[in-house]
């Protein structure tokens, strides 16, 4: 019985404070909505219900042993793929994106739950193949394992959530101890694959200058030539090196190959990605580009936060949110409303609580009993860090607008429950850190 009481109450405390803030601002941002729209008026009541059910869910998850859950990782993987495909088929279409499955009274964003499932799946995989993961074969296998749900989420399309999987995987690999050469190689490939399409679109839309490098990159024939050149040179160096077995030359061949792969990926991304998605990223780089469309959100959000000043306009007195200048004030830009009504003091207080929350998670991660628990906690920490940083960052123009939720504060059932489940797993791991025997339950 003792183990169930060994809860980390600090963590619980932070979660409750954050959730109450979320409920308060779900109420505040809709205080002036006309009474005809009752559905919007009662948002905060729904949020309270999500919060209470989330707490129950968290407690329930923390009781089941995490090792037992991890043993059934392949089932979780299958479930996540099935629900993602189901979303693509029977999902509710909102703003040209199919992200929700509707269950009548509540609609769930499936990709949120897949995040948790995938963290467990990756944790289990790394735990099973602790030594083998240093070989390229197992690393690539892991990547292909992750790429399938990421691709399915990307098809919805939900760029933000799909993007979250990359840092989660990388950090889990980093904690799990991966070969640095392969790790950095894959990172380099990713960077090339992302930067080139962005650069080209930016040049085609805005700067329009014809420097030779950009010209070569934008011309597909040149790009094909470049790719084949890199590929052949990598091959030649590799073949020459077969007899010499020089480590340096081997590395050169490897990175040539990686860059070549990066170009291929860039080509693919450029063809697959929809123009508005690239433009979203561009408007992050330079929000003044088009004020009406994408940049409008960033500009209005900055005005909202900035106008709060040091002390804020006072609770329920924000004008930007309540008069409707700020878009998506319940979901993506809830932090702007906090910044407007509570000012610099309030918004930094929220950030400070998040910091304490994350520090607590790190502390738990350091004390875990086994490798599996450590990796899973690191994945969950990364999930939170990315969501917090990108959500707050996008309201103040530090990050692109991706529609990632702010854990515990953003209105919505899926995100609340996902965060609660994640914390439940952490509590689960934490409460078993001193237990050495295999326990029932």
């Amino acid at each position: 019985m003792r183990k169930y009481l060994m809860f980390d109450f600090y963590l619980l405390f932070y979660i409750i404070i954050l959730s109450l803030t979320g409920i308060l601002f779900a109420y505040s941002s809709n205080i002036h909505i006309v009474k005809l729209q009752t559905a919007m008026h009662n948002l905060y009541i729904r949020q309270i219900i999500y919060f209470l059910t989330g707490i129950l869910l968290m407690l329930g998850i923390s009781i089941i042993n995490y090792k037992k859950i991890a043993e059934h990782a392949y089932i979780l993987y299958l479930i996540s793929i099935v629900i993602l495909i189901a979303t693509l088929i029977i999902g509710k279409k909102v703003n040209n994106a199919k992200r929700w499955i509707s269950f009548g009274f509540v609609s769930l964003q499936t990709s949120e739950f897949v995040k948790i499932f995938m963290i467990i799946v990756i944790g289990n995989y790394l735990d099973k193949h602790q030594e083998k993961i240093k070989q390229l074969k197992y690393l690539l296998l892991l990547f292909s394992l992750v790429m399938i749900p990421v691709f399915l989420i990307f098809m919805q399309p939900d760029l933000g959530t799909a993007f979250v999987f990359i840092p989660i995987t990388l950090v889990m690999l980093f904690i799990g101890g991966v070969n640095i050469k392969y790790f950095s190689g894959i990172l380099l490939m990713g960077v090339i694959a992302v930067i080139i399409p962005l650069l080209l679109t930016y040049n085609a839309r805005i700067t329009k200058d014809e420097t030779p490098l950009l010209y070569i990159l934008s011309n597909k024939n040149y790009l094909y030539f470049l790719i084949s050149f890199l590929f052949i040179s990598a091959l030649i160096i590799f073949l020459i090196n077969l007899s010499m077995r020089n480590l340096f030359l081997n590395n050169v061949a490897f990175f040539c190959f990686i860059i070549c792969l990066g170009f291929v990926a860039a080509l693919l991304i450029q063809n697959i990605l929809k123009p508005y998605q690239i433009e979203r990223m561009l408007s992050f780089i330079d929000p003044e580009l088009d004020k009406i469309d994408m940049g409008y959100n960033v500009t209005q959000s900055k005005i909202t936060i900035g106008s709060g000043g040091l002390y804020g306009k006072g609770l329920f007195k924000g004008t930007q949110g309540q008069l409707g200048f700020l878009p998506a004030r319940n979901t993506d830009f809830i932090f702007s409303v906090i910044g407007e009504e509570l000012g610099f003091l309030g918004s930094t207080a929220v950030i400070f609580i998040y910091f304490l929350f994350l520090a607590r998670l790190i502390k738990i991660a350091k004390e875990v009993k086994d490798y599996l628990g450590g990796i899973i906690v690191s994945g969950i920490i990364t999930m939170f860090v990315i969501q917090i940083f990108i959500n707050i960052g996008m309201t103040i123009g530090l990050a692109p607008i991706t529609g990632l939720p702010l854990p515990f504060i953003t209105y919505g059932g899926s995100t609340m429950w996902t965060s609660m489940i994640a914390v439940g797993i952490v509590l689960n791991i934490e409460s078993r850190k001193y237990v050495h025997k295999k326990l029932p339950g």
């Binding site: 030594e131 904690i175 936060i305 106008s307 008069l323 610099f344 520090a359 790190i362």
Partner: protein
Amino acid sequence: MKNSPVSAKQWRPAHNWRYLLKFNIYFYIICVLMLLLAVRLFKLQVLQGSRFKKKALNNKQQIIRRPSYRGEIYIQNNKSYQKIVKNVEGFSLFLLPSNFPQKKEKRQKLISKICSNFSINTNKIKKILQKGRWNPYRSYLLKPFLPFEKVLFLAENLDSFPGLFYQDTPRRVYKNGEVYSHITGYVRQISTRELKKKYHLGYSRNSVIGKLGIEKQYDLNLRGKDGFKTQIVDARNRVKKVIIPEDGKPIPGNDIYLTINKRIQNIVYNMMQRYPGGCIVSRPATGEILALYSYPSYDPNIFIGGLDKEKYTKYTNNKDLPFFNRVTQGEYPPSSTFKIVVSCAGLADDEISFWGDYYYCKGGIQIGPQYFKCEGYHKSLNMCYALAYSCNSYYYHLGIDIGPQKIIKYADYFKFGRLSGIDLPYERKGRVPTLRWKREIHGNFWWDGDTANLSIGQGYLLATMVQLNVMTCAMANGGYAYKPHLLKKITSAGSGKEIFTYRPEISFEIPIEYSKIKKIQLAMRKVVQVGTASKGAKSSLAIAGKTGTAQNIQGQAHAWFTCYAPWHAQNPEDKIAVTVFIEHGGSGGGAAAPFATAILNSIFYKNSVLYNYKKIMQSYTSKAHYYEEWLRKRNQEKLPPEYFKRK
């Protein structure tokens, strides 16, 4: 974990230094990220907070203009004042697209209903609805100044016209607009060019500005100060709250009182209703203008509440240019009336004796290659009779004797070629040709022929009616004249307190002895008694004046008559100076003098029959018959469009 001593399956992460180091690194990364957010928040909220606060305020605030009431214009009527330009509370019709029905059939029905009830074009409503699709919570002006019955009708049936509403807007009304149009001018929306020039004076894109006449001249006094109110709106432009600040009340403009006399202006208006021309009546003792009229005139009310296009095109197609104020803007050769100035120049330094020096008129003189004609065969004349009979030969001789420099000098004393200073906009200067001017413009040297032309007021010389009237005033006063003016006083609209009262100011003084002026006055009296105006200016009044018949290349001669009466008045305030000009009127004595005399008769004998132009024409002019024919012919033929272009 190559160096890890424990096998992988068993190690406990808490005891592995690499594992702990990785999490320590991760912790510091998190610290940096959170610090980044906090620093950025500090920059946005604390350092740039005031800037963003202003932006947020701009987002939600709209400042709405509340138009001020423009000042009113009064004229004199029997020692009291009467309004000629006033503001009437008008109601304008507005459309709010957001309240318009969405269904197509209902929409069509409502549009046709509005069109039939308020006589509005269907396309106009459709255009507004198209515009309103992007901004449906803004109100659009549908029709300015509804008739009162329509407003009542709308107020009763407001429910059956969703989307329509009315709002009161001050409306300018010009009473008897055609009589006073060249005095009052008119108002219109400010143009972009004017706004660029007058932005610093507090005009905005919506302000109304005087375009002509007194409305333009005293616009700063008349316009008042617009008020404003603040509206709090939401992102869809819906008004949530209206704030009317203390200093947002519109301040009405000042009222302006003119020296124009209603009775005299009406007399002049009735007289001048046939031929293009102008008339100005003033009081020499103060310089105030009692009447000013230029025929044809326009109705300024066509500009109020949307341009009345039908009338406007009628005015712009009129060959006699109704918007052209002939009194201040018309430059014509002053012809024989200028002989007064030449006489002054001759008498001033005792070069010529008024009674004693004779010239012989044999019907003209030969100067170089050209023969300069005289109207008659006057034989031997002195100045008195030369002026009375308007003998050209005498003045050719006189001009050549005293030289052109002296004539120019005296013309300059009389302010010919310079602005008279009348308070109406766009006044023209006229032209006094100088020797240098001729050399520069025409490339020729001045010769005696030019002097001869100048001394009978022809040739290059041009003058306006105001200038000739001021010259007459100077003769009536005995050598000096006041600046002509229309303004009497300015009072504030609310309290009626006088802000400014006009004080007569002397425009010029001629350096000549009073006795010599008196001699010329006598000669001017002789003009009416025995001379050129003896037929045309028959009256029991002692009128003294001078006729002028201005030859020009466009057609018949222009008719001038400038005079004052009574000649012998003891009290200088009784004197009244009248200048009449009739474009292509024939001879001054035949066409213009009867008008001036009739006007003076009507002014001084209040019970006399009010003459109208028909009676005058019947009783006097023999040339009227020809003139009418010529006028009819000219109106039939089509003039090229260049004729109407501004030069």
